[in-house]
Point group: D2
Chain length 378, copies 4
């Protein structure tokens, strides 16, 4: 009998958006059980909620420091800590738990600066612990299929990747002072970038992930279409990958009518691929000179990754929570010592931050091209 792994969660309290996705992701396959938590910035609220979720009273903590202190010397300490707190705290929590020898899954953005990102990369290597960043879209089966096809050369050398992550949920100027919206455009809380750091880096990670290549340099145009905003709510980023691929990335939060407009197109010498997060179970493929084909999740002959990341039969839709669950499946395997290619790494987190800073610099310089790799990866 394989016992469940013990899981601890920091943040993701009652009413949070991302909390339920992590809980479903960790529990859906019966691999993890929630054993500890510091779920809320209000200690009592967090303790209460943790217990309602089945955590024992002595492991329902008031904050992450208390949880670290409480867990680190237990024999049955948690096998994995998920960090789903406000962005500005990701770095110090992730660092602290890594230093104490825990495996960590950190929400994106992993850090607020490139330096911090590089620190986590080095620390994770030094400890040998599993450390991942939740670029969960990369765990959709058909994204894995796209990556497998690209890596197998099925569309030839990749010439061009075009991606967007745009929505309109921050498009109401009269709602711009709503605290749930405002902080995203306030440098005090969000850092140097608004929409690009929030959504754009998902698209940039996806481009790198599918193409198995890294962004080398970029040119950005930022706009605050709602003038009261200090940070951009719309951005266009052109980039070049190390292997020469041309990239185009548009991200917006004022695209009224787009709900969750995250999609990607990859064009190579001998074919094109298209995937959209709102219809995640299909991958559209056109071979050069041939007809467009619909590749269905669950069809025969898919890549090994695409197969194992799909759980129900062809054309039974699977969605976002199960993409998160696929991250947890691979985390469980990694914790048990198996090698699982594709888990988003601290290097991915550091690269995202380097791209954010490069884009801010480029936009400030009228679109000048700027090196986008962290210093440690140049």
């Amino acid at each position: 009998m394989m016992s469940k792994l013990k899981w601890g969660m920091i943040g993701g309290g009652e009413g949070s958006q991302i909390g339920p996705a992590h809980r479903m992701g960790a529990q859906a396959d019966g691999l993890f059980e929630l054993a500890a938590g510091a779920l809320d910035h209000r200690p009592e609220v967090g303790r209460d909620y943790a217990q309602r979720l089945g955590v024992a009273a002595d492991r329902a903590y008031g904050d992450w420091q208390e949880m670290l202190a409480g867990e680190k010397d237990r024999d049955d300490r948690v096998d994995l800590v998920t960090v789903a707190t406000p962005n500005a705290t990701h770095f110090e929590i992730t660092r602290a738990f890594l230093q104490a020898g825990f495996n960590v899954l950190c929400e994106k953005p992993m850090t607020m600066t490139v330096q911090e990102g590089e620190d986590i990369v080095r620390l994770a290597e030094a400890t040998g612990k599993v450390c991942a960043v939740n670029y969960c879209y990369s765990a959709y089966p058909m994204v894995r299929q796209a990556r497998a096809m690209v890596c197998a050369g099925e569309i030839g050398k990749v010439r061009l990747v075009v991606t967007s992550f745009s929505h309109g949920h921050h498009g109401d100027a009269t709602d711009a002072d709503n605290p749930r919206v405002r902080w995203r455009y306030d440098p005090e809380m969000a850092g140097v970038s608004g929409q690009f750091a929030d959504c754009g880096i998902h698209a940039l990670h996806m481009a790198s992930f599918i193409c198995d290549d890294q962004v080398e340099k970029l040119s950005a145009d930022f706009a605050s279409t709602i003038p009261s905003r200090e940070l951009e709510d719309d951005a266009m980023v052109n980039f070049r990958m190390c292997g020469g691929t041309v990239g185009r990335l548009w991200t917006s939060s004022v695209a009224i009518g787009r709900q969750h407009g995250f999609d990607i197109q990859i064009f190579g010498e001998t074919g094109g691929l298209r995937w959209a997060s709102e219809q995640p179970n299909q991958l559209i493929y056109t071979p050069l000179g041939g007809r467009t084909q619909i590749i269905e999740k669950g069809e025969a002959g898919l890549s090994e990754d695409a197969q194992r990341m799909s759980r129900v039969a062809i054309a039974h839709p699977e969605g976002f929570p199960l993409a998160v669950a696929n991250i947890y499946v691979d985390l469980a395997a990694a914790i048990r010592g198996e090698v699982r290619d594709g888990l988003p790494t601290p290097a991915d987190g550091a690269r995202s931050m380097a791209a954010v800073y490069a884009a801010v610099e480029s936009a400030g310089k009228g679109g000048a091209w700027v090196e986008a790799r962290p210093g440690m990866f140049r």
Copy 2:
């Protein structure tokens, strides 16, 4: 602290199609833990697999009789038994566990005859136990939204409901002898009906569920388009509901190119609705004289049911396993004594069987109209 409910599963062994959906459904929200199982018709295989899933050795049973014997006198006996065995065994297992005072979730079809269906209805009433049939498509958030809109009169009196459940996965005549396909068209194993009993009854349940009405009579046309089949692989059923609504239902397993073509359209005096299982997160609504609108899962102002059955933010897709999970959420509530409208009942199971027999009779009589309700509900 709310402890998890104990859950037992019969059938759904390794490699089965429906097993993973039940396990994800039961576990995703942390409400149930798998405590017992008789997962395979091969006793040792089932015992082994149950233990690999975390079931204690003494509750990893070889068959359902052993499980019934082992569980019925335990203080910590399972709170819910899921029956996911071959169709012909659903009745006896469900009956036996109900008689022993267990709560049961039975896969569809609940029974093989109308009489058996009526027996389960009466037995469930007599025991007062929770008994449900897994018409899980009815637990998609946007199906609930459709039902709420119809019941609130938002499209007026329903004139017409048009539904189909068609796929092409049995369309290969050269594969017709494949045992995984053949049994479905063999009266010895499948009973009186093939495709209609397999998929059509999902569509018929959906029509009844959304319209909050029952099928009164029907006229059917069956075809075995692959001649070697004794039972139909394509069927058209026209029906009338008790409230006068006209119904049209097409189901096929030879519709090559349709993957999981389950969809429904409801037309009332003042509007129309459209939903498709392959894009389950949208409901298409057209008010009389107005423009077609896209209602998104997670948007503001949805019905209470639609809201609570959605777990992640607007436009983050949710799929089939979470629809199954919604059934388990309501089962957990019902087991704890809460009232949850919408759980598919034994009466639904009995009505499906009556519709199957009526359709077979009608098709045999050249499309003659036949009463479709179980005797107990006329």
Copy 3:
């Protein structure tokens, strides 16, 4: 130099729905010039409108009898007469012009009874004149491609054809007395059938056209979902073709939200095809065991018919008026003595009427199966 053919039109006056489609159809390719017309049931209105359209005063007629008298002895008499008058007059006008030796394009339905239909078939044969019925949907390029693929055996023997032609434009009960709507459900004006005779026969023709087979027998279910209507506003027709193909046809005028929901699916032993009139430039094809492919109007390698019926480059959409124009292109060729397979014939018109009467009889007999071929074709 090839001079233009002279064209005369009866009906299709100012404000009519179908008139502009015929004029664009006849003129788009510069093959016909409007030389004569009796365009309106109000003689002066028709004369005036014809002249505004460029018809000479002496050929701007007050009614069809006047036009017949005026044209029949001219040396430069019209090469083609289009009959686009109210349905009940199609037969006598078509007959009269055929008898006088004119070529005729008649709007559907060609006649009001089967007997009349058979009369036109015989008359057209006897005169040797070109006579066609405007089943113009059959002249979309991708419908021709579908027909060519079926006839070439690319989807194997056809098992099943499923078609619908449904809209919601007559769904407003409060508008049911509107004269433009009411006549369609009034037996005095519409004949024995409402929606099936209006739209259903287009779908039935399409099924026959693509499958290159004829309907042998059918079983129908009619409903007047707006109770004040004597004739059906919703119909389901199951049918069998002479070659054994199973057919399903749904037609409705109360399907609120469907705009012009004419589509067809053809399922054979080795593949499936799907086409929808609202996106007419693509044909969806799934080979057995393979992926669904999108066949684009204008792509390389299409059938000869599909190629010549497309006028602009791939993915530049073409629509309904150019489908009508394709009918005129073939009429011009036929008038000049070329053979053009695919022009809808008087036999098609007679078969439609036989299907209408068969459906009415079947619906009246509770869905009994009824022979659907005209006596002359049994």
Copy 4:
């Protein structure tokens, strides 16, 4: 009686792509008759083809100079000349015919330089003749509806416009030497820009047209993804309109799988709009805080322009040739002295050329922002 206008065509010979669209466009509504033509660069071929199209022998010319000489002194000279020759000749032909007092419709690009564009603007003004450029996509009914809605403030002040015109038809590197493809990337023949000048300017015109605003400045990134090409086959252009709107334009000819991917999204303070040329009969509209709606060509209550530019009933698709025909309808009206807002003007042609040169300059300067208006419009 309104006689037809006489029409002459230069270029657009047998086998050309754009010729048939012009002929259908001019003839579909019976407004123009082809009276003269110089259709091919091979004089005899052109004369022969013109006569086969019904042009009298003495007006079937060998080249445009001959046509100008032949027509300019005729009493019945052509009312309109369409210039559909290779791009590099547009300027001199348009200039010559304007100078001789003809009305002209010129294919895009109107000229090869900004100076030439400004010359045509001044010349057209001086002569008072009708002169238009064939930005025919602006004549789709639902594009007019979008423009009307924007101008009426229905989406508030426009913040952002995002457009693309991408296809993959030049994506085959092994076909790059094909003469029909190669010239587009050869500065000798195509001028300073490849894909942006070919397709991008359609998208840029559309953005200006719908927003009723002009591009002020831009920043461009060009790529030749097939290395042998001197000119770009992929371009991204960020721009700002005079009124402050942010713009994003992507154009590509190597986007394998995109057929005719011309689409536009417009985002304002109180709503968003979306239109795609491959499904031109719908306009997608989302009011701020409301549901996405599908606006159908032909529905009640559309703008006057959208209504008159639609010719057949709701949901009967209309396509590219009828958009061209709408240009001709407005040209006929303008020639007869009516005012028709919306005809693409020489100023539009000059602005396109200024944008092309600005984009080339910006791309050459690493994305620097460059003024994009012709000098005469600054």
